[in-house]
């Protein structure tokens, strides 16, 4: 690891001021630190945002659940409020990586990193989340712009993620046997008017499967998507899973999620 300047600002303003093209925010460090150790990334300034009180915590209102950026996966998984309002979200958080990762990794870090096989982005998409930053509020579908890419501008800091509470929802994941990231993950959310099927792991970036969403919107039962072919074209193919296998898992886990709702 190359040496760097470590900063621990107490508020968002200072954090933002310190940011530059050669800096990184440090939340859980579960991605940042290994990439620095492996020499894949190096920064002049590392800005630790864990001391900014405002960024952590969970708030539930009648319509939404808002989770502060530095809230850890383990906290979300254990939260009574989340379990009551959106149990699928608590379940998702509880199945991320392993205990060590869940006790450090944060929701803000997860979505800002936008790993194509991360779990949270699918929840954001399916639950019509709004990403609140220190500059603006961004709809989830505009936030995740590509592989490891987001709408965040340099120095922009995620402060919180606001999820719309659905009628029902479930998250199903086929873990990568080595890393336990998602080979694929499917977040199904049934809202008042429509159903969202968000898929992670299958392609270079999280997406809504429009076909499956539409069919389930008109009939929310697993039989509604019987025989619906999920196309493998455009899906990732690597040593852990071929595109065909991923396509099979997407349709299978969508059904499982619907049945679990």
């Amino acid at each position: 690891m190359k040496s760097f300047n470590y900063h621990a600002p107490k508020d968002v303003k200072d954090a933002s001021k310190l940011a530059s093209s050669s800096s990184a925010f440090l939340a859980g460090g579960m991605t940042t630190i290994p990439s620095m150790k492996l020499g894949l990334a190096s920064y002049k300034d590392v800005i630790d945002i864990k001391n900014i009180k405002k960024l952590s915590g969970i708030k539930v209102s009648g319509k939404s659940v808002t989770i502060g950026a530095t809230t850890k996966h383990a906290e979300v998984a254990a939260s009574k409020d989340v379990k009551k309002a959106i149990p699928a979200l608590a379940k998702l958080a509880g199945n991320i990586g392993d205990a060590q990762v869940r006790n450090r990794g944060t929701i803000g870090g997860s979505i800002s990193n936008n790993d194509p096989s991360a779990c949270y982005p699918s929840a954001c998409m399916a639950l019509n989340a709004i990403i609140h930053t220190n500059k603006r509020s961004i709809d989830a579908e505009k936030f995740f712009t590509g592989m490891f890419d987001t709408a965040l501008k340099s120095g922009e800091l995620v402060e919180a993620v606001e999820f719309q509470i659905p009628e029902k929802a479930d998250y199903q994941k086929h873990p990568n046997p080595a890393s336990r990231y998602a080979i694929i993950g499917v977040f199904v959310a049934k809202h008042k008017k429509d159903v969202n099927v968000a898929v992670t792991g299958a392609k270079s970036c999280v997406y809504i499967d429009k076909d499956l969403s539409k069919k389930l919107s008109s009939n929310f039962s697993s039989s509604a998507i019987d025989g619906t072919e999920v196309k493998s074209s455009g899906m990732n193919s690597d040593m852990h899973a071929s595109a065909e296998y991923r396509a099979n898992l997407v349709s299978l886990y969508t059904k499982k999620a619907v049945e679990a709702c």
């Binding site: 492996l38 086929h174 046997p177 080595a178 990231y181 040593m239 852990h240 899973a241 296998y245 299978l252």
Partner: protein, 792 residues
């Protein structure tokens, strides 16, 4: 006093290990030390055109930079192959030079080219980045199946072939095959594994300018052997000027047998730069450069009669040695593999033919089981397939071909002294509720799942010793083991052993046996190992040899202590020698019942003089002191055996395989500490299930290791296993006085075929290769559905 041998004594070493107080090589720091970072080849095969160190030398904090050129100039020797194997045509094996720092060509990704020493680790890393190596990249040979048809990667090694070895009689086999009703055939891949010891390799070297002695702290399974190799072949220092210390070592599994490039380079360099040096591998370096395991391609055939008798066995294997032949690299796929490939069966005619090839991949060497897992996989897949094709029960076909008379002269090499294979399999069947399987299968089917059961009966040759045998098979050294027992005047005892514990719990097991022999509490005994300046000599720990060879040396040394004690006690008790008995730590004069404890006798041994009333207790012809040593060389290997049964359930929609039940019944002869033995079996089974279902080492076609981190290399985890159901049968080994057989590798030997047989059973006989990953199994399930549909 109750015997300690046989009881579940808690591990002495747990106090330090479980409290984080272990002292590993990386914990050792020496004043004024420098940090080493190696410059490694990023290419699988490349000519090294030039190495420019000028910028690195100017880099901040850099103390020195050394390359293959300097090491060649100083005539430092390379890494060695420890066993000489001959080809079928009588020619000697072809072994390329393996310099510690590659000078002209790099032959695998990660091979060290240069080394940078600096004041801090960060500075060493910076410096290493500034070493400029100019490569001419060559086409790499990666797939062992193609190696013999590819361009030779080493000068003088035609077809990349190290040897083409034969054990057995082809003619007799052909004859047997001509009489068969049926020939069962399998094509198998024994997947390459990365050992993944929890502690990465490391070394710390301290050169003493005054005494010219080098002290090397290192992560070795066999410090004395390391010293011998580094001195005799590496030319690093004379043996008496080289001290090798292997303190606590966090797992080896075979990967820490070899003396590696880094140890040789740092030892040589410490003298050159006159500074201590510390090097600790990063996990990526472990993945790339620790010796790997397995990597066989096998075609095997079994000739059978319609009623399930075995007539003959053929085994044609290509073994991948990787880029270089290392210490056990050449023997693992030959004498550790071929003889055991006929398994626990009477097979009148057999041969094993192995072609060992070089490729541009990490060197392959012994890994837990070394050759015997590959052998067991070969025969046990064949036997299971034979049962399927003949429509016989898989346990019945095995029973039918088990020997019942011991010693059992196995077809190819070994004479197995003792065993009861029938009892083992019967017990396993009972413990696994074999009879209830069909009902459980129906239950699974009702839930939309496929259920399979697999059996494997194994034996293995371990306790790697008999010097006479191993040397006749090509080993470069004798493989006895030594021990020294020092009875100190105040009653504490130090037991020195040449075996080395890196997870095997010798502190406890060896103290148990010494305590029984000497009749003293275990607490009085300290087991000392891992330091060439302390123990006499040793061959180290691998091949499940610590107890069966090293443990017996301890027993014999203790017996010598007791003998001398008797002589001294007789004098102290003023009786004849034959009137003294040793019992429960006391020397008793049979007639008078007068006693001296072994502690009193030991104390007396250190007081040979006369004063006032006190007379010297040392008999004529004896010397003062109470220290005895022994070198034990057994008459034969030890032959643990057993039967394992596994049940898996497969989800055909995802291909996920769940190990539902795992039963292991093993015969390890007499068991010293059942708890420790169970731990060894657990670990072995976990590694075997890892091989069967999870661990998937993959190189791409250019020779880059794709699975070089835990993000991609699947280590099995606790939630991949059911609770293991363990049982034991016992027939004593006759080749050692304790009747013990090795237990360290059995779990890893028996389990891969057990699990794969279960998976293949669930798939209706459809064969798939290891590891049976979800996607592979899913593909097989799809094919099964299709063929079922066709049949219907």
């Amino acid at each position: 006093m109750a015997s300690l041998v046989g009881s579940r004594v808690e591990r002495k070493e747990d106090t330090r290990f479980l409290q984080g107080k272990g002292r590993y090589t990386a914990d050792i720091n020496i004043a004024n030390q420098t940090y080493a970072v190696f410059v490694r080849s990023p290419h699988a095969r490349a000519k090294i055109k030039s190495v420019d160190t000028s910028k690195a030398l100017k880099s901040s904090g850099v103390v020195g930079v050394l390359t293959g050129k300097e090491i060649a100039e100083d005539k430092i020797g390379g890494l060695i192959a420890g066993w000489a194997i001959r080809s079928e045509d009588g020619s000697e094996m072809k072994v390329p030079a393996n310099p510690p720092l590659a000078k002209d060509v790099a032959n695998f990704v990660g091979e060290p080219i240069a080394v940078v020493f600096a004041e801090t680790l960060d500075e060493a890393k910076e410096g290493a980045e500034k070493v400029k190596v100019d490569y001419k990249v060559l086409k790499a040979v990666v797939d062992p199946a193609d190696a013999m048809k590819s361009e030779a990667i080493h000068d003088g090694v035609d077809k990349n072939l190290c040897y083409d070895w034969l054990l057995g009689d082809r003619k007799a086999v052909d004859e047997a095959f001509s009489k068969a009703d049926k020939i069962i055939k399998v094509d198998l891949i024994n997947n390459r594994l990365v050992p993944n010891a929890m502690e990465p390799r490391a070394c710390v070297v301290d050169y003493n300018i005054a005494s010219e002695e080098i002290t090397l702290y290192t992560t070795s399974q066999n410090p004395h052997l390391s010293r011998l190799v580094m001195s005799a072949f590496g030319n690093v220092a004379p043996e008496n000027k080289l001290r090798v210390v292997a303190p606590d070592v966090g797992g080896g599994f075979g990967s820490k047998i070899n003396v590696y490039n880094e140890e040789i380079v740092c030892s040589w360099a410490s003298k050159k730069i006159e500074r201590p040096i510390k090097w600790v591998a990063e996990r990526t370096e472990s993945f790339l450069t620790d010796t790997h395991g397995r990597d066989h391609i096998t075609h095997a055939e079994l000739a059978v009669t319609n009623d399930g008798k075995f007539l003959g066995f053929k085994n044609e294997t290509i073994a991948n040695l990787g880029a270089y032949a290392r210490v056990f690299g050449t023997v693992t796929p030959t004498y550790l593999f071929g003889p055991c490939a006929t398994g626990v069966y009477i097979i009148p005619a057999a041969y094993s033919n192995v072609k060992a090839v070089y490729t541009n991949t990490a060197p392959v060497d012994a890994y837990r089981g070394a050759g015997r897992p590959e052998a067991t996989y070969t025969i046990e897949r064949l036997v299971e397939k034979a049962a399927m094709e003949l429509g016989m029960d898989k346990t019945e076909i095995r029973m039918k071909n088990f020997p019942t008379q011991f010693p059992f002269k196995q077809t190819l090499v070994h004479t197995v002294d003792s065993g009861d294979y029938v009892a083992g399999l019967e017990k396993a069947k009972q413990m696994a509720d074999y009879a209830g399987f069909e009902a459980r299968k129906k239950q699974s089917e009702a839930n939309g799942k496929l259920r399979g059961i697999g059996v494997s009966s194994y034996f293995e040759a371990c306790g790697i010793a008999p010097s006479a045998a191993v040397m006749s098979l090509g080993c470069g050294v004798g493989l006895w083991e030594s021990a020294e027992v020092r009875f100190n005047p105040t009653g504490q005892i130090s037991v020195f052993t040449g075996a080395h514990s890196h997870g095997q719990s010798h502190d406890t097991t060896f103290a148990q046996i010494a305590a029984d022999e000497l009749g003293v509490p275990m607490e009085n005994i300290d087991v000392v190992h891992g330091d060439t300046d302390k123990g006499t000599f040793g061959m180290g720990t691998y091949g499940s040899r610590s107890l069966t060879v090293g443990g017996i040396a301890i027993v014999n040394a203790c017996k010598k202590i007791v003998e001398k004690g008797k002589r001294v006690a007789a004098k102290m008790l003023e009786v004849n020698l034959d009137e003294v008995e040793f019992k429960n730590g006391e020397f008793v004069a049979i007639k008078s019942n007068k006693k001296k404890t072994i502690g009193e006798v030991a104390f007396a041994c250190y007081l040979p003089g006369q004063r006032d009333e006190m007379k010297s207790p040392i008999p004529e012809g004896d010397e003062p002191g109470l220290i005895e040593s022994s070198f034990f060389d057994p008459a034969n290997f030890s032959f643990p055996a057993g039967s394992h049964i596994c049940e898996v359930e497969i989800d055909p929609d995802t291909g996920n395989v769940k190990v539902e039940k795992y039963t292991a019944v093993d015969d390890f002869g007499r068991i010293v500490n059942p708890m420790i033995v169970e731990g060894q079996v657990h670990g072995g089974i976990a590694q075997g299930i890892g091989q069967a279902l999870h661990e998937n080492t993959q190189y791409d076609e250019t020779g880059q290791l794709m699975t070089a981190s835990y993000m991609d290399y699947t280590m099995p985890r606790a939630d991949n296993f059911p609770e293991f159901n363990l049982g034991f049968t016992c027939t004593h080994a006759t080749s050692n006085p304790l009747g013990v057989k090795g237990c360290g590798e059995a779990g890893a030997i028996a389990s891969p075929p057990t699990v794969m047989n279960a998976v293949i059973d669930a798939l209706g006989g459809q064969e798939i290769s290891m590891p049976a990953t979800a996607e592979k199994v899913w593909e097989a399930c799809k094919a099964m559905k299709k063929s079922n549909a066709k049949a219907a």
